[in-house]
């Protein structure tokens, strides 16, 4: 079910993006209501990752990249004068495909790294505990907070990265294939986490795993060759899509 809100949390209007001469996104328009999960599916190279990278202005960090169109978070244009990208990325967090904890830091230091970097004051130990709880990792690490982050398993490292992203209190969480390198149990934990986090934030998740999209999301968007082919309630996309290209993709008749 898509929860209705007065104003969508994220609004994307006629977004085009290019890098190294590739037209990666072609006139994408969609909205993400607050406290919902949007799953982005599509074959490799369809623009999924570029799309989420535009939402926290990471795309523009790629040399030679540029874009047109508008992205609004809470009605505010990301490229409006005076919007600080660093500040924006605090509100719009990102979790990547490969868990990337800071290798030389302890578990605790990893979680509070964003707070320190951004000069956010407050009780860091308390925020760390809360974030680790939110990321469903607390019970597994509470007795070894000072050990190296690399002592954790892959799934734990990924949840640590989620805790790190949550510590700075984002309103939107972008997840780029957060579970593709994890085993089924670790994947189930991340998926459970996504459903819980939805109560507090708005999530956009890129995934190659269609069953995962079906399980965790409220709405699903199918991208193909930089184009948004179809965007609708997840149940509809997987039981009765409107577009034949979506039908071919979700049934496995592509290519």
């Amino acid at each position: 079910m898509i929860r209705s809100a007065a104003r969508p949390k994220v609004e994307v209007q006629d977004l085009n993006a290019w890098f190294r001469g590739v037209h990666a996104l072609r006139g994408v328009t969609l909205t993400v209501p607050a406290n919902t999960v949007l799953a982005i599916i599509g074959p490799s190279g369809c623009g999924k990752s570029t799309f989420v990278r535009c939402i926290n202005r990471m795309h523009e960090l790629v040399p030679g990249a540029h874009q047109s169109g508008h992205i609004l978070v809470d009605g505010q244009d990301l490229h409006a004068r005076g919007v600080d990208p660093v500040d924006l990325r605090r509100r719009v967090g990102m979790v990547f495909q490969r868990a990337n904890p800071f290798p030389t830091m302890s578990i605790l230091d990893n979680v509070v790294a964003g707070l320190k970097l951004n000069g956010i004051r407050g009780n860091h130990a308390e925020i760390a505990e809360k974030s680790l709880h939110q990321a469903a990792l607390w019970d597994e690490v509470k007795d070894r907070l000072q050990t190296s982050a690399l002592s954790l398993s892959g799934g734990q490292q990924q949840r640590l990265c989620i805790a790190r992203a949550l510590a700075i209190g984002p309103e939107v969480l972008l997840m780029d294939e957060p579970a593709s390198a994890l085993d089924p149990i670790a994947t189930a934990k991340i998926e459970e986490l996504i459903r819980e986090l939805r109560e507090q934030l708005t999530i956009v998740i890129v995934t190659h795993n269609m069953q995962q999209a079906a399980r965790v999301s409220d709405a699903t968007a199918f991208f193909y060759m930089g184009e948004l082919v179809e965007h609708g309630p997840t149940e509809q996309i997987f039981t009765n899509p409107k577009e034949s290209r979506t039908e071919d993709y979700v049934t496995g008749k592509f290519g």
Binding site: M210, T239, N240, T246, D248, V250, K253
Partner: protein, 231 residues
Amino acid sequence: MALKKHTDRTYDAELEELRSKLLTLGGKVEAEIAQSVRALSDRDSKLAEQVVGSDREVNRLELEVDESCRRLLALRQPAASDLRFITTALKIVVDLERIGDLAVNIAERAIDLNQSPPLRPVHDLTRLAQLCQSQVRKALDSFVDADVDKAQAVIKDDDLLDALYHNLFNELLALMMEDPRNIRRANSLLFVAKHLERLGDHATNVAEMVVYMVRGTDVRHPHSRETTGQP
């Protein structure tokens, strides 16, 4: 349904195998109806015995269809039209098997009736039997051709079948009142008529599922929809 092939060709082959099993099953129950009705009209008890015997094959096919569906659901995680096809298969196989059972019931009544002298020919029973056979055939055709128009015609014609059944009911009731010695045979014929009418209902169920399979919209129970919260 769609002409486009799956990237994984063995998946296509598995879906095709399921479809062909359903069609074999459909063909068998169609034949059972025709034979049971003929056993009654031609007073051919031997043919009726054949129908009773052929039901084992129908039951075996039902189990095979169920097994294929379970395997596809577990191993392929089907989506969209494939999901609708497989869930439709799971539902219509129950209707087809029931149609087979009803044909057997008719055959059993025929064996019983053939032991007594014939009752005055009941004209509407032949018409009812013909209509039922045609309903089952059309429902199966609509499934094979994924033809919504044909399926909807089946759903619509069920009213005709019900009306015929009610005529027949009154006709047989009159026969019973006319002479108490008719009661036993007329009652058996009434059962046959009821079995045929039920058989038509199963054909309607198949047709309704075909509409769902093709369009993705459920046309069953339109008046119960508000309470279930379905769109």
